[in-house]
Symmetry: none
Subunit: 195 residues, 4 copies
């Protein structure tokens, strides 16, 4: 009907299939059938099978980018933890509410990992300098954080979640990253390495 709609229809169909079957097992036929278009029409809007996939990925990355705001420190700014909480909530909401997108992003966005990890690492370094974060290896820690978040999304995006649930998940993840799992009532374990 509307011109823009055709492209959107195809994209919508493609996202669904790609997220279920992955890139390789998705056939052009799998896309055009639910999109209700002819084979040739597909190639009117996309040059390659690869191109539509990359196009989807790109859109995702842009949306993801919009979820993440730089954490700024200042007296008129919310507490860094709350800024972080906001970022996490937005990302989780995007990916858990659009599980297809989430799966595609998590499984195929090679190269994205390192970029994100690097950003986290920088934040950690700043946190250490500011005394908010304990002395740690920021590189290794950044991969721990990123991995944890990815895994939680991967798992929890399988079933739809409401806002409250997402908030609870975010809170738990935050808590994990900040306090770890040790019972705070106990003394540090770490004198016992060689026993």
């Amino acid at each position: 009907m509307l011109k823009k709609n055709r492209r959107e229809d195809i994209l919508k169909a493609a996202i669904g299939i790609f997220s279920q079957k992955g890139y390789h097992d998705t056939r052009i036929s799998d896309i055009i059938k639910p999109a209700n278009i002819a084979r040739g029409t597909f190639y009117l809007y996309f040059d390659h099978k690869r191109q539509i996939f990359d196009s989807i990925l790109n859109t995702l990355l842009v949306e993801l980018d919009q979820c993440i705001k730089n954490i700024e420190v200042g007296k008129d700014r919310p507490h860094p933890l709350n800024q972080l909480r906001g970022n996490l909530t937005r990302v989780f909401t995007l990916l858990i509410e659009n599980p297809d997108l989430g799966r595609i992003l998590l499984r195929h966005a090679t190269g994205l990992d390192d970029r994100v990890a690097y950003t986290i690492e920088d934040a950690l370094k700043l946190g250490i300098k500011m005394g908010l974060i304990r002395e740690c290896n920021p590189k290794i820690s950044s991969y721990c954080i990123l991995g944890g978040i990815k895994e939680v999304i991967e798992h929890f995006s399988l079933t739809k979640k409401g806002t409250a649930e997402i908030d609870a998940i975010v809170e738990e993840v935050l808590n994990f990253g900040i306090h770890g799992l040790k019972n705070p009532a106990l003394p540090s374990y770490f004198t016992q390495k060689n026993k």
Copy 2:
């Protein structure tokens, strides 16, 4: 010796290729060439392309299983933390020293995740009951742990590591999981949620 070797040769070649190219982009030709066998010979040892891949995965899972020992609590047992440390070290060593295996495992072992996460979850529940671990959501936390470990392996298996390095990585990951990132000198942040 001879018979067994053929199968091993093929497996070895396949592991290398699968880990580099992934399942889909690996051709039978890619496997038989470095394995120095004829095309038909491949099918004497494996029924399908899929089967050799699953076979590799299975071997990996067995090896992985052997790395992980149930954590037992008792006065004649090492501190649970040290048992955990041992498990982690063995897993990291296996996967970082065999990066090909590691990559295959991490990228393709769908379904493994949930199983492992479930094991972790159980351990967490026990830890909570024993007072070693703070009150937390054990399911979410287990995914945080698992994801963190996976991401660290994925990243650090790209370059060979020595024992000392592996130990350091393990220590950092442990520390992250146990203490989190908060500077212990600070009071808990978590009163400030709504600011």
Copy 3:
């Protein structure tokens, strides 16, 4: 004026493309773009891709026909050689000055050859009967003549030529057909077949 122009525009564009790319490598898109028309418009003026090509060929054949005048013998007629010279000059001029047309004609006008050769053959027979032409096999000779002319046009239509140049080429071709290449100072070679 307008209506006719559309068709002419398309034809002009098509001639250029066909002569450069040949029939098979020419796409409808290649034609409609320089013709500044929509895809559907093309099919208002031509039924098929093949039809526009044939149409071009037909126009060419008509033009070619107009170049060639029957050679008439009579005391009030120019010498047959000059009539022939006139024909050749007109044909060469047409095709060398319109290299696109020339190329299309030479490469694709299957079936034209035999018709033209037949005309030449008839002329040769007449010439023999009149004593102007030596006893020869008129069929074979007609193909020699036709082929020579075609090859010369094919080659020399690659670069624009002026009237003087065309005249010179015509003269040389005529000379070749009439006198052959033998140095007239020599006796006939043809006693030496078996040496």
Copy 4:
């Protein structure tokens, strides 16, 4: 049966089809059907549709080359005319006896023309210097010769010819090239240009 045979079978089938339908209208199916092979088998022997075609063309050019021997002048050498006659006879025999090859060569060997014409031109220049050939424009004349030969082959390769017939054709072509068509009893026409 024999290993070499498969490739030959495919080539033979391809030559037949290509010569009838030309490159573009020949489908892989057209080739594999008479060759009695499966679709995939074709690609075992040739990389592309284009490659088998080029391969055929190349073989042709080699065979053609073997037909043509440099004309050498010397008292212990046959008369140049007879050497020329030999070349022509061999070329005509090859192409007329293998009409499929002939058609492919004539229609598709772009670039061959100019090379051959150049060889002829050189021979003509030598002949002029030696006084065997009259003063003429050797470039234009070479195209006349080449074109004549091509056209005769094109036409006469449509029907099988015996040795005697080929000899007769060669003789007529030679005669045409050497003596032209003028009745030798007449004086030169070429004083009458402007009448």
